[in-house]
Symmetry: C2
Subunit: 207 residues, 2 copies
DNA sequence: CGTTCCCATGAACGATCGTTCGAGAGGGCA
DNA sequence: TGCCCTCTCGAACGATCGTTCATGGGAACG
């Protein structure tokens, strides 16, 4: 099936491009760099993609769609707001850790997009942010008023999670599950004063 | 005094450059853009600065030095670890809110530097990070073991604080003092389970 | 007056950028 | 065989990049 071949080659190209964009930054990366990294000629890139802009857009929109799809999947059968928040964080960090390059590009090159591309991705971000805010609203409903403004809480949590590309090593000692639990507890402890309940976390000293 | 004139013009140039870098990104900004924004000719820029690289370095290193100096000033006479953390966060966010452009450039264009410039700024970052970690160690000493890994806590807090250039409006309804208090409580509540004590925060619904 | 020094400029340089174009290799099908 | 379709490429285009250079206005000083 020729169409599938083409689609797979585009997938591979996007993965290679995400790697290089994550490492060198979007604007610092030339189409010649991408040609070298993907093993295709410079002109050959334009058979699969209309422009460098579209390349960035495809990386961002596909990653985002995957994150949102995973979120809906993990939240589908969960009613308890606290548990929903845990799932939301797990999903976000899971995808982040297993697609560091793409997510770094999504988080860090947000303003590199323009026009309709930018508008489209921003729309997705707004919906995703709204999803988290709704979860927080649910928590407040069952656990009483929060200790701080919901908007501040939302962006603080996104800040914690989206900053990890600056320091987290998916291959290091710290597992994603532990990281997700830590972030959940850190957030919930401050947001509604939820105490740590089950098995305490390891207290390895800093490194 | 001619030297002071020159220094002041350099200051103004750096401020203008920070504004443009923050808005368009470092690599997207051309020296011609900066010439236009600062009212100097293209060649004239090179009288004050050796290269575009150095321009970015100066913005970053000066901002960082100011943040670190403010930190030392505010921590000088404070012994209580909890209070020290509060001052640390206040200082960071105060400077962030009053120098959004510079701090966005510092946070967002970290990897645009190269060679000695990069090494120098990274060294400052390491020291600053260490300062926060030491405060956390002090907190653990007086309040018992934390609920999560110190390294995760450190970077989570930096994530909350450094992410604000993505959403915070210094001219909006949310004041810096309130923001700093919120971040402090959010962090401490989750880190050591510190309950909210005095006057609760406003619970304005999201916007 | 002449000389010196600070500041500023227009014009140009070579390099690199994203993108295009014409050409052709190779397989499937008549 | 001849024709078409998919895929790939080298070479080139115009634009824009960071930087340099020769030049000169004008204040300061002898």
């Amino acid at each position: 099936m020729a169409n599938a071949d083409r689609s797979h080659k585009l997938d591979a190209l996007l993965a290679d491009a995400a790697r290089v964009f994550a490492q060198r930054g979007y604007h610092r990366t030339s189409m010649r760099d991408l040609a070298k990294a993907s093993g295709v000629s410079l002109a050959g890139l334009y058979y699969y993609v209309q422009s460098k802009d579209e390349l960035l857009y495809l990386i961002q929109t596909r990653s985002f769609d995957a994150v949102v799809a995973g979120m809906h999947e993990r939240l589908a059968s969960v009613k308890d707001p606290i548990e929903r928040l845990g799932r939301f964080i797990e999903n976000h960090l899971d995808y982040f850790a297993s697609h560091m390059a793409e997510m770094k590009v999504l988080s860090h090159e947000a303003e590199a997009l323009t026009g309709d591309y930018l508008h489209d991705v921003n729309e997705k971000k707004r919906e995703y942010t709204r999803a988290l805010m709704d979860i927080l609203a649910g928590i407040e409903k069952t656990h009483g008023p929060a200790h701080l403004n919901r908007r501040v809480a939302t962006y603080s949590l996104f800040g914690m999670m989206n900053w990890i590309y600056n320091w987290y090593d998916p291959l290091g000692d710290l597992g994603v599950e532990t990281l997700a639990q830590s972030v959940s507890r850190l957030f919930l402890g401050g947001y509604i004063g939820l105490p740590v309940t089950e098995g305490s976390l390891p207290h390895a000293s800093s490194g």
